[in-house]
Symmetry: C2
DNA sequence: ATGGCTGATGATATAACATAACAGCGAGAC
DNA sequence: GTCTCGCTGTTATGTTATATCATCAGCCAT
């Protein structure tokens, strides 16, 4: 463990590191079971191990879950604290993480009705990426 | 069931009616399997039947899926055309449907990056409803 | 009427996603 | 040493969703 470098990354366990690396290498959303397949070579071999690490990483903001896909993706920014959204291509599953400004976030929370005091935003925009858009009709 | 809603309703099949009634009666989100349990008495007895009806109803905008809960809820407005969001109590699962104005919707779509042309918004706000909030009634 | 077409439904089987519960192990405290 | 704690491993099961094929009823052309 390299201690005297001042990177601000929280220290991760072996499994958390494996799974985060896997997601970063993939550079696209992966299901928990797809992750499991990829990390079998490192000794991880059961779903709960994967879900534990994913949940820990999500708590740290380093992994996000795409609710509309039941898939997980490494945070583009190392870690986020809740002010993010996603744009997702419905054809090829390409994902772009969107950073929400404080104003964006406030605007979203302001949509909540009086009965519910909102704490957390889940925002996913689905559409088509450039490569998947029909090349001009003929 | 009293059917004094606006009758712009597209005609529904028997199963679609059963399942929509079930969701409207429940007045809260239900999982597909919870729906299945409730409509067994009407003769529906297998998951695909429920999912077929739910998907048809979602296509018609009369049922929405809460992505963060894997649960389904009847549209509060009879039917919506994509401009809705939800606020959800994380303690009691109470759900409030939010109608998005055209401006809200446009604002949300505008968050998408250039690479992805957004078509559809999934927005869910999680928090605590009044009954579930620590009663700080000073 | 017969038979073929179509859309809705029924049924079986299985895939895909997620968690509960308990067992084992290793590092540091004492 | 041995106790405790956090992490990991393992078994078993629960929950959500779909692929696939069979069946049935209405419709309509012949
Ligand atoms: Zn992030
Ligand atoms: Zn694409
Ligand atoms: Zn609605
Ligand atoms: Zn509540």
């Amino acid at each position: 463990m390299n201690a005297h470098h001042h990177d601000h990354a929280p220290k991760l366990s072996r499994n958390q590191n494996e799974i985060l690396s896997c997601l970063r290498d993939a550079n696209e959303p992966m299901s928990a079971y797809a992750i499991l397949d990829r990390v079998r070579k490192t000794g991880i071999s059961h779903p709960p191990t994967v879900y534990r690490a994913l949940n820990d990483l999500m708590r740290k903001g380093m992994v996000h879950r795409l609710q509309s896909r039941s898939a997980f993706v490494a945070c583009d920014h190392g870690a986020c604290d809740g002010k993010f959204a996603f744009a997702i291509c419905r054809a090829c599953d390409k994902v772009v993480e969107i950073s929400l400004s404080d104003e964006d976030q406030a605007g979203l929370l302001a949509l909540a009705p009086d009965e519910i005091a909102p704490e957390q935003v889940t925002l996913e925009l689905a559409g088509l990426c450039q490569s998947c858009r029909p090349a001009a009709s003929a």
